[in-house]
Structures are given as C-alpha cells and as structure tokens.
C-alpha cells in the first residue's frame, strides 16, 4: 500500500493528492499563516531546537534574531521540510500539516526559502533563473514539452523590475555582484508567488547602499506576503522590523517590538553576558 503511495508521489502522471498550489486558498481564518508548535530537534543529544513555538500572521514581516547556534537555520530547515523534527507540529494555515510533505511540495505550496549563502544557478542567465523558479506545472513532461505562456513571461518582467535587475536580464547569474545575487534569489522566491518567504541573512556582506535597497525590497513585500527574516545586522533589523523574535538555545527567549526586545533584561544578558 505504501509502495503504491510512494510510486504515485514519484510518478509522472501523478493523481494530485491535493491542489499542489494549496498556498493560494489557504485557510487563515484564525490569523496566523504559520503555526510552529513544540518543535524539538536534536543532533546526537545536542538540542538544536527545544520546544520552539512560533506563530506568524498573514502578511506580517517578522524578524528573528539570536546568537550563533540559537537554532535559526534549523528552524527554517524544519519549516521547509529539510529536517524532520523529533517532536512538535508545523501547520500552514489551519489545515496543512507541513511535516507530512516533502521539500518540493512545500515549495510548490507557497513557502519560499532563501539560503544564507546566495545560491543562484550560475551558468544560467538572470531570466532563466527566474524562469526556473516560476510558479506553474513543475512536472517532468511539462518542462520537457511546454514553453512558457505569455502571462508567465510578463510575470518574469514584473519581478525583474521589482528586484531592480531589468538591465541584467541576459547576463549570466554567475557574473552578478554579491548583492545582485541576493536580490535575484529574492526575485526567484517571488516568482513562486509564495504566501511565506523565509529569508536567511539577506544583507550579510552587502554595502550600505545595497542594504538600504534590500530593506526597501523586503518592506515592500509586507502585506502581500508573510516574510520571515533571519538577520544578525541589528541596524538592518531595526530599519525594517515591526515585530522581533529572539531565539536562544533553541527556544523563544523574547518577542515584541525592537525596543521592547532590546530592553528585555534576559536578552541583554544573552547578548552581552553579565
């Protein structure tokens, strides 16, 4: 029985188990779009996440900070299906259990992720990078046989402008600057038309001007998408954050506005020591 299920998941003419683009008509009637509850992940006895609880509202821009090893990246791994937790649940909207889905299903369903290290497809052009990421039928035969529709092309142009790279359309992604690669990657997330964007350290290694541009880009997404930003750069976080969550040793230490968090004695202790 399970073999049949697996075969179907693997199959080319899969009978859709559910709407692959389930993010579009998500039930968010109770507010949050993402429910992370009681998540625990341990590696060889070391608890990377320890009973983590996190709720992200629809359209919210949330910043997550925390010292190294606080579990920020592991949390993203759990949400995107890369790591399966030892305990806890992750729900997307009211009904969709993300832990039962695989990475590509979660991505198709509307959760996009940008990695810490910019990963764009270097031998492909900027346009082709966006084309790859585009929402639509991503099964083997359709990519082999079908070209893009006019609508999809328009969408690529739109995003090209949004991320400020219309002039670089035919340039190879490998030839872009570090900052441009980061934007391209955010653009690729946007191509997926996601409900939730997970953005890991978007401004690491950027110049001041680039940081500003990135801040504008991310705040412009607020309302249309839920955006979760993990970042070390406090100035940057201050400039974009509405609500900040502080992680420490795998669980939430504090949550609130930037000012509230900064004046929280526990946070001060963790960041500054005694």
């Amino acid at each position: 029985m399970s073999f049949i299920r697996q075969a179907r998941e693997f199959g080319y003419r899969a009978i859709p188990k559910r709407d692959p683009n389930f993010g579009a008509n998500l039930d968010t009637s109770h507010g949050p779009v993402l429910y992370v509850e009681g998540i625990t992940v341990s590696f060889d006895g070391f608890k990377a996440l320890n009973d983590l609880n996190l709720y992200v509202d629809d359209g919210e821009l949330r910043c997550i900070i925390g010292p190294n090893g606080a579990g920020k990246t592991t949390m993203m791994d759990v949400i995107t299906g890369k790591t399966k937790p030892d305990a806890g649940t992750v729900y997307f909207g009211q009904q969709i259990d993300l832990l039962s889905l695989s990475e590509h299903q979660i991505a198709r369903g509307g959760i996009g992720r940008k990695f810490q290290k910019p990963t764009v497809f270097e031998p492909l052009s900027v346009y082709e990078n966006l084309e790859l990421a585009i929402a639509g039928d991503k099964r083997v035969w359709s990519t082999l046989l079908k070209d893009l529709t006019g609508e999809q092309r328009d969408r690529i142009d739109e995003v090209l402008h949004q991320i400020g790279l219309p002039k670089h359309r035919h340039q190879l992604a490998g030839a872009l600057s570090h900052g441009q690669k980061q934007w391209l990657e955010i653009g690729m997330l946007l191509m997926q038309s996601p409900r939730v964007l997970l953005v890991d350290e978007p401004v690491a290694g950027m110049t001041g001007e680039e940081v500003e541009h990135t801040a504008q880009l991310l705040t412009s997404l607020e309302g249309k998408h839920s955006v979760i930003v993990v970042e070390h750069d406090m100035a940057f976080v201050r400039s974009i954050a509405r609500k900040v969550t502080v992680l420490h040793q795998g669980s939430v230490l504090a949550e609130g506005t930037m000012d509230q968090v900064q004046n929280n004695p526990k946070v001060v202790e963790v960041y500054l020591g005694e």
């Binding site: 590696f43 060889d44 070391f46 990377a48 791994d77 890369k82 790591t83």
Partner: protein, 553 residues
C-alpha cells in the same frame, strides 16, 4: 677382504654423513644417534641403519626381527620407517649396501637417511619393500603404541582417532587402556573413551552396549555415528535400538551446533579479510573523504612486497611475514603518499574527478606490476607456524592461517583505533576532516596531515596485502577483486566511523557465509550486493551515521 674393507669404510663414512646431516637438522636426533653409536660399539647391538638394511634385505622372518629390534631403539626416525613400510612407500635397490628411499605423497622420491633427492637412474632401480598382512598389523600396533605415547598431545590425539577410524581390536584395546591410566589431556581421554566404547558396542551383553551408547552420546566421530546408525537399525535388543536412536539425535544436535560455530568462524574469518581490505579505505575515504580507486592496488603492492621479502631473504621464510608487515606498510604507504602529493591533492573537493584519476592510477599500477613481474601469479610461501590445522573436535577444525588472520585483523584495527584516538596525528586528522579551514587556522599543517593520513591508510592497505598473500593468489588482479568489497564495507558501516567498519565487515562476512550453503558462492555474493543496495535505501548514511550540522550537507 677389499670388499669388506670397502664396506666398513663406506659404513663409517655414511655414519659420518648421518652425523653431519642430523647435526644440522636437530640436536635431539644428534643425541640419539650418538647414543646409538655408543651402544653399537659397546654391546655390538645392531645400529639403526643396520636394522634398516636388514629390514629391506631380509626375508619376512628377518624383517619381523628387525622390526622388533627397531622398536627397542629410541630413534625418532623409527616411526618414519614403519610408516613408509606400512603404507608401501619404502623402496630399496639391490646394491650393497642398498639405497633406501621414501616415496612422498607428492610423487617425489628422496634418499631415506639424508633426505637428498635421487637421480632418475637410481630411482629406476628401486623396488618396493613388500610385507605381508601379519607384519602390517604388527607394524600398525607398534606405530600406534609409539604415537599414542608420544609427547605431543596432537600426535596422541590423532593416533587415537586413527585407531578409531581403522577399527579397534584386542591389541589396540590394551594399548588404549594402558594409556588411559596415565593420560592427562582431556581431549585424548575423550577420544580414548570413544574408542573403548566403540569396542564395547560389539559386546553381546545389551547392558554393556547400552552403557557404551551412553558414552557415545556426545561423540562426534564419524565411526561412532556409523556404528550407532547400524545399531539403531539392526540391534536385536529393542532398548539398545532406541538408545542408539536417541544418541544419534543428540549427536545430530551437537553437530548442528558445531557446524554453526564453524560457519560463524568462517564468517568472521571472511569478515576479517574484508576488515583488513576495507580499513585502510575507512581512513582515506571515511575520514578524509578521498575516494581512492587504487586502494586495491595498494593491497596488491603489499602482497607483492611479501613476495619480494621472501625472494630477498630465502633463508628467513619463518620470519618473512613479520619482516613483510613493516616493509609492506612502508612501501604501500610511500606509494600512497606519492599518489596523494602527485594527483589527489589537486582534486580535493571534487570527489568524482578524484574517483576517475585514482582509477587511472590503479590501471597504471596494475600494468606496471604486469610488466615488472609478468601477469602470472606469484606463489608466496607460508611459514610453518602459520600453516596447519587446529582440530578442536572431529567436526570442527580451523586452519591456523584463518585464525591468525582474524586475530591480525583485530590487532590492526585496535592499533589504528589507538592511532586515531590517542596520538596527535589522529587528533589532527580528525580536526582536518571536520573543518579544514579551522584546523589550518589553529596551526595544523593541513597538507602535511593529508599526506600522512593518506600514507597511513595506504600503509594499512599494504599490511592487508601481507595477510591476503597467505590466502589468495598474488597477481596483478588481486586488488580489483577487493576494491568493490572494500567500498561496500565502508559504505555499509557508515563513512567516517571505524567501529562501523568493524561491525559491517564482520556482518558482511557472516551474512555471506550463512547464505553460501543455500545459494552458492557466486549467488551469495550477488545477493549480498543487492541487499546492500537495498540497505542503502533505508540507511543512506550506513549503520552508524555521523550526525549533526556538518553531516546535514
């Protein structure tokens, strides 16, 4: 007169020769021979060789006398004469004094006293020394008497077993009973008990037969089984038949147990071979992440080094393996370092390219060996101490080679564990393999560590070659036969985990040996490969995967 003179001269000459030869072979012989010579002069009693001449030249009556006289002599070679005579392998010609020769099992014929090879002309003149049945049984009893009272437990044990095989009669029974009174070794005593019980089975009193059956319950001798089977079918007494039946069943159970132990041992033995082959790879592939397809050829180089050592020091065959171990470690290790410095270091972080390049190296090494040493297999001789069979009981016997290789494999493993866990090289290796940049930052010369680690893994492969030279053919294709197995061991055990390598080698060996009786050797191998492929489905990172953040990518 001249003839006689000649005779005496020859005799003293031959005595001198004997003296000389024996002095070289062993001092105990020398002692005995000396004594015999002294005896001869004092009491004029016939010497050993005089008796032997009488034995081959005389008629049957004289032969019988000679046999009796020989028994009185305390000469270790008496057994050889009797043995050869009894089995019809003693030859002599008509010359005076006769040339006496022994034909060996391998077909060669040598002079009896000196062991020297004989000219073809001489061999052509030889005639077999014939005996009659009465003499033959006399010889057998004498032989048995000699060997059953031998100093070595093994000789005594085998003598009793031979008696069991040949059938116990009245003559031997007294011998056995005499020995039983003074015998101290449990193994020999057990065999004597079996022999006596087998004799008792022929008794016409059912109670004595029953008693004998109860003694034979635990015996694993084939004779015991056969006799019991006959008894269970043909014995007139109902009770005896049932008892025999029960005894047979209990023996069958015991045999199953020992067969199982034997399979386990062979499995572990194969496992130790796999361990030896794979453990070097566990270092280079497992710890360093370098995929070295020339690993098998490094094993082959170790085996050829063993051969070279034996060629260079033909007088030290007994020690050759002990010399070869460090030699093979150094030779293979240096070749490994050369490979690392010459090729692999340019390819770190590109595993597929490393795979191809090292495969190329393996082709070159194979062909180099073929060109240098010809494509023929080389025969590596085994020292005496490693050959032979350890007979634990009639069903279970273990060759010393396999036993030593098992122990050796475990020793090498333990040594390697120590190196990795306790030495500074081991610490550096682990540091570099976990985080190269960080290790370099704290002052580890990573390229130096790479070379040494690779040398270590390669050297261990060379040591494996020494062990393998004792059980397989040493030829240019030796390495190829082991490379896939070695990789399987490492992958199955979990990359980067030496304990995993140990467990996986042993379990693969066991699985293979337990499958073999059902599937045949080749199919067993195919099945193991398929099982491994399926296993990788369940546990892609092996039995003992590395966990943690670093392992995630």
């Amino acid at each position: 007169m001249t003839d006689n003179c000649h005779h005496t001269l020859w005799r003293s000459l031959s005595r001198f020769c004997l003296f000389f030869v024996f002095a070289i072979t062993c001092s105990a012989t020398l002692h005995a021979q000396d004594e015999a010579a002294v005896n001869a002069e004092v009491t004029e009693a016939p010497t050993f060789e005089e008796l032997v001449y009488q034995l081959v030249q005389g008629n049957l009556r004289q032969m019988g006398e000679a046999v009796d006289a020989l028994t009185e002599l305390d000469n270790p070679r008496v057994v050889d004469v009797f043995d050869a005579l009894g089995s019809g392998d003693l030859y002599a010609d008509r010359s005076e004094p006769p040339t006496i020769a022994i034909r060996h099992n391998n077909g060669s014929t040598t002079e009896f006293f000196t062991g020297a090879p004989l000219l073809d002309e001489t061999v052509a003149e030889l005639r077999q020394v014939r005996i009659n049945n009465r003499l033959r049984s006399q010889l057998r009893t004498l032989m048995a008497q000699l060997s059953i009272n031998d100093e070595s437990v093994d000789v005594r044990y085998n003598a009793v077993r031979r008696m069991i095989r040949d059938g116990v009669d009245e003559d031997t029974i007294t011998l056995l009973q005499d020995r039983q009174r003074i015998e101290s070794a449990a193994r020999v005593n057990g065999a004597i008990a079996t022999a006596l019980a087998l004799y008792e089975l022929r008794s016409d009193q059912p109670t004595r037969r029953l008693e004998a059956i109860s003694i034979l319950r635990g015996s694993l001798e084939r004779e015991a089984r056969n006799t019991l089977r006959q008894l269970s079918e043909n014995d007139p007494d109902e009770e005896v038949r049932t008892a025999a039946e029960n005894a047979l069943n209990s023996i069958a159970g015991k045999m199953r147990f020992f067969r199982f132990i034997e399979t386990v041992f062979f499995g572990l033995s194969l496992g130790s071979v796999l361990l030896l082959a794979g453990i070097g790879l566990a270092i280079t592939f497992g710890v360093m992440g370098v995929i070295n397809m020339a690993h098998g050829e490094l094993i082959m180089i170790g085996a050829y080094t063993t051969w070279m050592v034996q060629q260079l020091f033909p007088d030290l065959i007994q020690w050759s393996l002990l010399i070869a171990i460090p030699a093979a470690f150094v030779v293979s290790g240096l070749v490994g370092i050369a490979i690392e410095r010459g090729v692999i270091r340019f390819l770190y972080g590109r595993p597929l390219e490393t795979l191809l390049a090292t495969f190329g190296i393996s082709l070159i090494l194979q062909q180099a060996v073929r060109t240098l040493f010809t494509p023929l297999n080389r025969s590596v001789s085994s020292p005496d101490w490693i050959s032979g069979v350890l007979t634990i009981n009639p069903v279970l016997s273990i060759t010393y080679t396999r036993l030593y290789i098992l122990i050796f494999g475990l020793l090498v493993f333990a040594a390697l564990m120590l190196v990795m866990k306790r030495t500074s090289l081991g610490l550096k290796v682990r540091a570099v393999s976990q985080n190269r940049a960080m290790a370099r930052a704290v002052g580890v010369r990573s390229s130096w560590v790479d070379a040494l680690t690779f040398g270590l893994g390669s050297g261990v492969a060379g040591i494996a070659g020494v062990a393998l030279s004792q059980i397989t053919n040493v030829g240019p294709n030796l390495g190829q036969a082991y490379i896939i197995d070695s990789f399987m061991v490492v992958v199955f055990g979990g990359v980067g985990n030496l304990w995993g390598t140990l467990v996986s080698a042993m379990s693969l060996g066991l699985i293979n040996n337990f499958l073999e009786p059902y599937a045949g050797a080749m199919l067993a191998k195919v099945m193991v490969l398929i099982m491994l492929i399926l296993f990788i489905q369940k546990r892609p990172k092996g039995l003992f995967p590395q966990k943690g953040r670093a392992a995630a990518d």
